[in-house]
């Protein structure tokens, strides 16, 4: 009898703990100041790039290629240097669930990194995406 009671208590404890963990898990993203900060950053401009270095002096070939592609299309964009902010560097990977830098966001939507931008550029799809983008929110 005692052992059954004990088991019941244990089960109850376990359930309570796991439900707390689940609640914590659910609230992690919204409560994480870095994630909510990134959420604002990606919507801060029509095109937002997270890169290594700055557009005038990229410090990674892949970041440089993304800047080149956007410049070819004469697209205005906002850039954030992840090399000067370790929390941003790790946080952006978590935000988009994408493991590498650079990362390009258009209209707050994650588009891709260097390979995807290059492929969209070559196929002509980037023109369409950017065109749509400009039409919806004309450049100031």
């Amino acid at each position: 009898m005692t052992s059954i009671l004990r088991q019941m208590i244990n089960v109850n404890k376990t359930t309570r703990i796991s439900s707390m963990t689940y609640k914590q898990f659910l609230s992690t993203k919204a409560d994480d100041p870095i994630q909510s900060h990134i959420g604002k950053l990606v919507k801060g401009n029509k095109i937002v790039v997270f890169m290594k270095g700055v557009p005038q002096a990229p410090r990674c070939g892949f970041s440089n290629a993304v800047v080149d592609i956007l410049n070819i299309h004469k697209a205005k964009f906002e850039a954030h240097d992840v090399l000067i902010d370790e929390s941003l560097r790790n946080g952006i990977k978590e935000y988009s669930n994408w493991p590498t830098i650079p990362q390009v966001f258009i209209d707050g939507e994650f588009i891709g990194g260097c390979d995807i931008m290059l492929e969209l550029h070559r196929s002509g799809e980037l023109d369409k995406i950017l065109e749509k983008n400009t039409q919806e929110k004309p450049a100031a």
Binding site: K52, G61, F62, C114, D115, L120
Partner: protein, 131 residues
């Protein structure tokens, strides 16, 4: 960071991609030497993969979700549209990307999309200190 000539990361990536995609073409190049990392590192890779698995799978997220859901209702094959080719490759290699591999350049195509052209090597490093 790996600094051994044993190619264990490279072999592991190759085995995982082979098993998951049964690819028609699988090229894996260790491009770490192009970067500011110790000799024989396994940190930067380029993968070219051609597989039937990628048939009907888009490159980027399909933004017109409403239309997509309608199509899924009538054509179950459209479910694949929810997946993205590069994301799928990244998912298969999650462990490697979390433990040392920090650059993975991907060319992922279906046999129909694949034109047997030489794939250019990745852009040169610009001094990001192997980061």
């Amino acid at each position: 960071m790996m600094s051994t000539a044993s190619k264990c990361v490279e072999n592991c990536i190759r085995a995982k991609l082979q098993k998951r995609f049964n690819p028609k073409v699988l090229q894996l190049v260790n491009e770490s030497y192009m970067h500011n990392v110790p000799k024989d590192s396994e940190t930067h890779f380029k993968v070219v993969i051609v597989s039937d698995e990628f048939e009907g799978m888009p490159l980027i997220k399909v933004l017109d979700l409403k239309n997509l859901f309608k199509r899924i209702a009538t054509e179950p094959d459209q479910k694949k549209q929810m997946l993205q080719r590069h994301r799928l490759v990244n998912t298969i290699l999650t462990d490697e990307l979390k433990s040392g591999v920090h650059a993975l350049s991907i060319v992922a195509k279906s046999p129909n999309q694949w034109k047997d052209e030489p794939v250019e090597s990745s852009p040169n490093c610009r001094g990001g200190f192997g980061k």
